[in-house]
Symmetry: C2
Subunit: 491 residues, 2 copies
């Protein structure tokens, strides 16, 4: 076959890059750190958007749109936020170009300098809370449950397609509440929505938990996260939900009259997932033949390839395929027929394996005689011959089985690659050999966390919600600890 | 009622601004020229997006995403394009801020100056054709039919919400073809898609035609447009489709091997509509009571308001409403129940009139006894009492009638405000009194067109596709003309 991947055992990072390009998902652009998302990659993102958007709306949220640009001064209003976000960013300083007096195209017009520089949003808390000030006067205006689908820019020095790019697409929820408790409940609700999406659509098992103080969002009092394990033993933070307390309300002076008639600052949350999820999806399931997509997020779940030698055979096969497609679509299954005569079946088989299409049907004149079709499933690469009679039911069941199998495989992988360690030596040993998730006791101090990060590059991914209480001692300092936290090397 | 609009007869421009704000569609932001699209306004845009996206996909297009930033040098590659687009734009010159040494927040870090400035895309032809160079080698790679949903920035000095803002949301289609004819067919196909959308979803009749050379897109050989007439007698360009010839392929060196094995430059089109359509929708139908929305683009088609005095009455009414809602939803009708006890029915009636909800149902204890419901339609403000028995069928039919009525009303208005004139005096007279569309003979020269624009502010909106051939004389120069063209004052 023309398209071969570097094997992931040989070079995981190269395997990933090869796969992104060869499965036609994305490519690097002429602009440093920015990627072009190609139609097949964008179709996966659209599927993700559609499901998430439905989930957001079902939990009472509405979409809105806020400006791309943020006045520079806004970033100085929340002290932690400026440290976290205002540094590596794209700065608009001028609003006009003019013809180069030397005749070389266009140059920046020095007369068109902005009075105050504009920052291309790296996240929108500041501009949104500046807006909320006018929207919220009374408890009757609360809760305010808003989401935005947008592009954001963070100037990254080392970029990787989908995982870390200077511009990326995401959604950012920004909610306002009358009480601390309501805001905390919202923070939890949304991390649960993300976990539901990751597990039931992406087929990626995740561990929910709270970030340590070092790893919190800049300006948050609590950051909840879902952490997934990739096939190279590294963790990928896949979604975060932040309890912002009253920090942004105070920074932007957003007060409301509560039910008792008293003025109070509003409580806030924000939460987001991005095109990074496409990277997580690729890395969690794919193999050396290409992408493996869970049916629920595949741009199309089934591809049909006709097998024929003469043109009149194609006509007969196509007539039968048309009938099969109608039956599949009736069940809500997305299906594509590739009857291009410019490529041979073998080439097409390899192409759809690379693209991770969950189910491939191949059908030729002999199948027509026998009333059969060849069914190949992408996740196990198994082939079988099935009767055409119940093929729609068969495929529907198979898609469910594939969705479950992909999840189960990722779950098994995570189970095999999650260990409890009780000494720092053991900790380093695991990191140096197989990686994976490590559950270990920690004394709860930022100093110890920083030391571990500096010495091993591992970070605390989260303090899991579901870990049981257990008396223990910090693997580094020996100080007492009440529960294990989750460590890993991470993307 | 709390919310009153300036009447459109008194001050059309103020009426529009009042309406945008009071119907909760949008508001100006802290960033000059950029607006915040509020949830209700964004919901209209989402409806538009959903229908257009479906239409694009049904005509074979796929979505993709290209970078927000374009290297400055790209704009110099196509000579006309640079004149049209590279001037008033947002220029990114730096990629980092740092703490102000004087302690006043953050300042631009002079050490983080970009080698080449980046332009925030005003339109994406350049970055896209630079990308297509790598995607197209052979006729087998064509046609390439791609659309992008994105934000773009054009630094506007005078802005009006939805109609002209520095940042706006849009879609831009960019297609590549093997032959001139295929590209021309695509250009026509997409202006027809836009006209279909405007007429059948927005309920706005449009005139399709070609732009004169003066009004063409920068870099296009032909620009097709749909032109709508607003209630103040001004035209609004509502969508354009451009035949770009081989200009961008030559500028970015995109060649392919054709079926005969010879190298040729690729033929291009681009086409777009934007959030401006929301402005067109508002201005085409609304009245002094507020927005009038066509059912097919209303965020919800029906609102139900309960009428009650005591809490137990509300419970009874709500039980019935729940049943009505289920019946309406079964027919695919979107419906919202406003049972807030913080507002009185009269306030709610005015609110939903302002927001243009097509049908309002009001139901109270007496209706329960009689098996009736009060139905109010927004377009005519008529009220009637209907039996609950067939209310779902009645509402479904009524929504169709409202959609048709709104269209017919706009069509009648346009008919009454379209005149043929044969002298320049008459032309000026019409412009100075009622405005509207003017069909007049023109000698076909840019000089005459410019003179008319300078003297009257009217522009040629288009050379209509459907105008009949007719011998005549240019109203200004008296030179011969073969067909009337469409003039108007325009947004």
């Amino acid at each position: 076959m023309a398209k071969e991947l570097t094997s992931k055992e040989e070079n995981y990072s190269q395997w990933y890059n090869d796969l992104v390009v060869k499965a036609d998902l994305a490519e690097n652009s002429a602009v440093r750190g920015c990627m072009v998302i190609k139609p097949y990659g964008y179709a996966i993102w659209e599927k993700m958007q559609a499901e998430l958007d439905r989930m957001f709306k079902e939990t009472g949220h509405e979409n809105a749109y806020f400006p791309l640009f943020i006045p520079k001064s806004f970033f100085s209003k929340e002290a932690d936020h400026v440290e976290g976000f205002a540094k590596e960013c794209a700065v608009v300083t001028h609003y006009r170009l003019k013809n180069d007096p030397d005749g070389n195209g266009v140059v920046v017009d020095p007369d068109a300098k902005l009075e105050e520089e504009l920052i291309v949003r790296p996240t929108s808390e500041t501009i949104i809370w500046n807006t909320y000030k006018n929207w919220i006067q009374s408890y009757r205006d609360l809760p305010l449950l808003i989401n935005q689908w947008a592009n954001v820019v963070r100037w990254e020095m080392r970029t990787r397609m989908f995982l870390r790019t200077s511009e990326f697409l995401w959604q950012e929820g920004h909610t306002a509440h009358a009480t601390r408790q309501e805001a905390m409940e919202e923070t939890e609700r949304m991390i649960n929505v993300y976990a539901d999406f990751a597990e039931n659509y992406m087929a990626v098992p995740v561990i929910k938990g709270a970030k340590s103080a070092n790893e919190r969002f800049a300006g948050a009092l609590e950051t909840y996260t879902i952490e997934a394990l990739m096939q190279d033993g590294k963790a990928l933070q896949s979604g975060t939900s932040h309890f912002l307390g009253q920090n942004f309300a105070k920074a932007f002076d957003v007060q409301f009259t509560n039910k008792e008639g008293k003025l109070d600052h509003v409580w806030a949350t924000s939460w987001g997932v991005s095109t990074r999820l496409v990277g997580a999806l690729i890395m969690a399931h794919s193999d050396n033949n290409g992408l493996v997509l869970p049916p629920r997020l595949a741009p199309y779940e089934v591809v049909i390839v006709p097998i024929y030698k003469k043109a009149e055979q194609l006509a007969e096969v196509s007539a039968k395929v048309k009938e099969i497609m109608a039956r599949l679509r009736k069940r809500g299954i997305t299906v594509r027929y590739d009857d291009r005569d410019s490529q041979r079946p073998g080439w097409k088989f390899a192409e759809y394996e690379m693209k991770g299409v969950p189910v491939r049907l191949a059908i030729g004149p002999r199948d027509l005689e026998n009333g059969t079709v060849e069914v190949a499933r992408r996740d196990t690469l198994e082939k079988s011959v099935q009767s055409l009679e119940n093929i729609d039911q068969y495929v529907e069941d198979l898609l469910t089985e594939i969705q479950n199998n992909i999840y189960q495989k990722a779950w098994n992988f995570r189970k095999e690659n999650t260990v409890k360690v009780d000494t720092y030596d053991e900790f380093k040993e695991v990191l140096n050999t197989k990686g994976g998730f490590i559950l270990a006791h920690w004394d709860g101090t930022p100093e110890t966390e920083t030391r571990i990060k500096e010495e091993t590059k591992a970070t605390i991914r989260c303090i899991p919600f579901e870990g049981e209480e257990e008396e223990g001692k910090c693997i580094v300092t020996g100080k007492p600890s009440k529960r294990r936290v989750l460590f890993a090397l991470a993307y």
